[in-house]
């Protein structure tokens, strides 16, 4: 039982031709908090190009298992998912990446899961697909649906992370801005209206019409306290002092 489902998910790359793609896949996994990588019969590996493209994910690459066959890589997996760009004749159900990620994470909360990617040119063979219980596809342009294998790994890893831990976003370390209160904003509108009336910008018989538009604009901006203070200052500075007005 793993508390973190991402630790129970391994990515399996079959017969990858370009070592650069292996490195880029390792990096893609690490950015999403994944780390298990199996390489089934890679054409050229280890290879310096894999290391260059892994950048800060050399640890993922170092711990990658090289397997002779897909069966070896899938041993122990309770759920195997094949990633494919095209529908297959095999009678394995196909779902979009997002739904596949949800199903994978559900299983991976308690058992190991494998995601299988094919060779750059030929994809997965029917025999390889036949060893999997689900096909996952990345929705794409029908006329040009072939993602680079490391790019496909990135998209699936991204969907898995969202399914497992959500889309929490790190915000700036500073404390979040304090939004202005209702009264602060109303005081601002009062000052603004007075100033615009005094400057002759509003129709004295119907000042509310333009004010409503200004309210809409500032309302959308969801003003912060500090911004209200700044705006007060701006108006004070711009407004013609009484002594110069007639």
């Amino acid at each position: 039982m793993a508390s973190d489902p991402l630790k129970n998910i391994r990515f399996v790359l079959c017969e990858t031709a370009h070592p650069g793609n292996i490195g880029a896949a390792a990096r893609a996994l690490k950015t999403m908090g994944l780390s298990r990588l199996d390489l089934v019969a890679p054409a050229r590996y280890p290879h310096p190009e894999a290391e260059w493209l892994a950048v800060g994910a050399a640890d993922v690459l170092r711990r990658a298992r090289v397997c002779a066959t897909l069966d070896e890589a899938l041993a122990g997996s309770a759920f195997s998912v094949a990633c494919t760009a095209r529908p297959r004749e095999v009678a394995v159900p196909m779902v979009a990446a997002r739904e596949a990620a949800a199903r994978i994470v559900e299983v991976a909360r308690s058992q190991p899961v494998a995601l299988v990617f094919g060779n750059e040119k030929y994809g997965l063979t029917a025999a390889e697909v036949g060893k999997c219980q689900l096909l996952a596809t990345i929705p794409a342009e029908p006329k040009f649906s072939s993602l680079n294998v490391a790019a496909a790994v990135q998209v699936l890893a991204y969907e898995l992370r969202l399914a497992a831990v959500g889309a929490a976003v790190r915000h700036s370390k500073g404390k979040p801005p304090e939004h202005a209160t209702h009264e602060e904003i109303e005081r601002f509108y009062e000052q603004l209206e007075r100033s615009l009336l005094a400057a002759g910008f509003l129709n004295p018989r119907n000042p509310k019409k333009l004010m409503a538009r200004l309210r809409r604009l500032f309302g959308r901006a969801h003003l912060e306290q500090e911004e209200v203070n700044i705006l007060h200052g701006v108006i004070k500075t711009l407004a013609i002092p009484k002594k110069y007005r007639r």
Copy 2:
């Protein structure tokens, strides 16, 4: 007014150092039905490596605009979004990629939108971010959140496609399998129960207990008509003919 919002979205890569990333970005865009690419002061471009990695997206690369400044690239855009891995001190709101994609597509239904990506090593400068109205970030592992720039382009392009046209999946061209009807499945269970009773596999006093488990198993599989026929055949073949039974 564009009917296809994806045609109103341009990706802007600032000061990209590696031409391979430009090619990979072009391919990533094309797989998602996007095609507009601006290159602000690329270090090495044009370059054969960009073409190698674009693979089938040479057309996107050929039509890419090379701009001297970010302002030149953003000219005409009604909404500019900066893609960044880290929170910034700039007072620009930050949202996750999925929410950014929804907002971008909304604007792009009627006006041009730009998505801005920084240099591989330094990302976007504060001045570049300051020209944008929104920050989009790809949720990632806090300790290693730096996606390759082409991988980030792939994820954003993918989210934009989903936001614009949904996650429709191309299924196999063959007609979809016909699921078995209730009666067909009940007939199958009857035959199965008879055969298992005859074979002594079920407790004659409580045959329903094991049958309930078998029903659960086959129920989950959502049997197709053809599969029910196959199962009938399997049982018929396996069941001991009456004449050999005592």
